[in-house]
């Protein structure tokens, strides 16, 4: 499949803050591609540059063969954008909103009417199309928001956090719509979310983005496979390099590393440094064990520690999924 999107070292700077630090990736025609990352990771800024809302500071991208820096008008006709916000006019009806956005994309007359009816069908809002959007539920508003992005039948649809604040029923409806658009109409979709389960369900491939950088990019299957059989976090009283090497060599264990220690809190006012130093500075050390087979690895790790009279202070097993991949890659949760 040819690439509909090729991003080449895209950079965006706001003053001194580097929001996007040179991301590169490509999306094939007909693919559903996930862009994963916590809030503030740079997902929306990346999408804003690709849709012409923001001008890149450096780097470029090609959409449908057109350069976003030199052929932006052609690019905009290919793109459809469903912003994270409910970008609608609440006092107008869904139909009036869609008519307006259709006109903005140059649709007129019969074509416009047909497209409005089509997108209303896609989001199942034909019956209530003449009601003011402000009277809709949150989920219905989200659906109109999606319909507005589809009005000109784009080849590449950017869905930026489309399920924020949506009830489960509407969320399922949105998933179905996205899958239908991709399977039945061959629409390429870039789906950003910080809900890993959505990306796992909808996307073929995903890029994990954190602090403006892509830290992993692969198929969902391969990303999850990075964790092998999962991750085990083992609390032990003391850790040294020898212990970590020996644990890494255990059967069913891929890797054992010491997790970053929490930083000691500052001394309380009136408390001397000596007093502070008399207390434990950090919590108990935690070893992160990446397992090939989590059940076998747990047994081996527990036996290994008991043979050395090291008592377990904590034990946590992370099932292999995108959430644990993200935690493994960044040391933080997606929703932090």
């Amino acid at each position: 499949m040819p690439a509909i999107l090729e991003v080449d070292n895209l950079i965006k700077k706001f003053g001194d803050h580097l929001a996007v630090k040179g991301v590169s990736f490509s999306v094939e025609e007909g693919e559903v591609f996930g862009l994963l990352g916590p809030n503030g990771a740079g997902k929306t800024t990346t999408i804003s540059m690709l849709t012409g809302v923001l001008e890149p500071t450096d780097g470029t991208a090609h959409i449908g063969g057109y350069d976003i820096r030199t052929d932006l008008d052609a690019v905009k006709k290919i793109n459809g954008l469903v912003p994270q916000d409910l970008a609608l006019y609440p006092t107008l009806s869904a139909r009036a909103n869609l008519n307006f956005f259709g006109q903005i994309y140059g649709l007129r007359g019969k074509d416009l009417k047909e497209r409005v009816e089509d997108v209303l069908r896609i989001v199942s809002l034909t019956d209530r199309a003449n009601e003011a959007v402000e009277k809709y539920s949150g989920g219905m508003k989200r659906r109109v928001n999606i319909a507005a992005g589809l009005i000109h039948n784009p080849r590449l649809l950017f869905l930026d956090e489309p399920t924020v604040g949506v009830d489960p029923q509407s969320r399922n409806h949105i998933f179905e719509s996205v899958l239908r658009l991709n399977r039945e109409r061959g629409m390429s979709i870039i789906y950003t979310s910080h809900y890993m389960e959505e990306v796992e369900l909808l996307c073929n491939r995903a890029a994990v983005i954190d602090q403006g950088e892509i830290i992993a990019l692969d198929t969902i299957k391969n990303l999850i496979a990075m964790l092998g059989g999962g991750v085990i976090k083992v609390g032990v009283p003391k850790v040294d390099d020898t212990l970590l090497t020996q644990m890494s060599a255990l059967p069913a264990v891929k890797e054992a590393t010491l997790m970053p220690q929490p930083i000691a809190p500052p001394p309380v006012a009136g408390e001397s440094i000596e007093q502070k130093e008399g207390k434990p500075l950090t919590a108990t050390p935690v070893v992160k064990v990446v397992a090939e087979n989590s059940q076998e690895a747990i047994i081996n790790v527990i036996n290994f520690l008991s043979q050395r009279d090291l008592q377990l202070t904590s034990l946590k097993i992370l099932e292999p999924n995108l959430e644990s991949v993200f935690l493994h890659l960044t040391g933080k949760k997606l929703r932090e």
Binding site: K76, Q84, L88, T91, I104, G106, G149
Partner: protein
Amino acid sequence: MKALSIAYKDLQIFFKDRGSVIVLVLLPLLFVVVMSGALGSIGQSQEKDSRTSLPAVNLDNGAMAQALLDGIDKAGGVRVEPYTETDAATALDEASVPFVLTIPQGFSADVEAGRPTALHFVVHQDADRTKAEAVRLVIEGVTRDLSLQIQLLAALEQMGQMQAGSPEAAEAFSVERMQAQATSQFKSASLQPLVDVVQKVPEQEAEREENEGLTLADVAVPGVAVLFVFMTAQNTARSIFDEKEVGSFRRLLAAPMSKAALLIGKMLPNFITGLVQLVVIFAFGIFGLKALGLTPITMGKSPLAVVLVSVLLSICSSAFGILLAALARTPNQIGGLSSLLLWLMGLLGGAFVPLFLLERFLGPVPKIVPHYWANHALTNLMVRGLGLADVTLDLLVLLGFTVVFFAIGLWRFDFD
């Protein structure tokens, strides 16, 4: 075309908000009524008597001068109002009086001595000429009677003295002779009146104040119209801010249309609303004020020029809306900036106090706001009856303000 779609959508949203419609259409009319009524009553406060007021400066203060003034006051139709020389000159300069009668010093002595003398009747060039002529005729009538009376009395006195001096000449003053003398005096009084009325219309001065001749009520409609058309600027700013807040502005930026088309689309509703406001306010000024018994306005001698000023005024207001949107970062800032700037500019631009009064107190300061030039142009066209050529400077300055507002707005506008 896309700009028109944005404008149509914004107008749809605007007309769904009935509160805004009321503020933009009914409030100006209320202002017009209040201002016209209030200012009109100020202008008419000195004319409660139905007789025409005649400001009179009596520099003589003699018996004959007083007799003349009493005669004019009792002649009917004219009410004499005593003025000092300075007050009369000021009032005439300000066009708050249309004419002034001045009785020169030594008037009584001259009349009593039978020496010809003259009254000065100075008429403002913008005064109602028919009314001035009527008053002048009354003055002339009274002075003619007074002249005749004085001359007859003088002749009779002279004849009496002559008879007393030579009783033998009694037959010389027969009835026939007396009648012939009286007829001669009538002719003399008619052809060579003892008291002449010299009328003077001051020639136009090079730097004459242009506001002379206006009543305060005349300027209410243009002032209020300009104020409220500029008030719509805050709607443009608020609409842009709302688009940014809900995220639809981002969606519009992602659509295949230029930023210029986007901004023009956001300006158009302001422009259209401004024109609608002007039509409503002017129509009310012409027909509504008349129906309410207040002084109506007219479209003047050049309605096309009024249309031209109205269009440019609405464009200027729209450009100011873009400037407000560029400068304000929050809804509160839009409200604060709008309130501060628009009301202050309206005040300086003559929305509440007529320009000729403002300029007297503030000098050229009002000229720093576009309101002044728009108000000045509309007043010249609709109240003074001037033509397009007379408002060229106003139009050029208004155009200049428009370009500056739009340029700064575009420069400072945050599309991100």
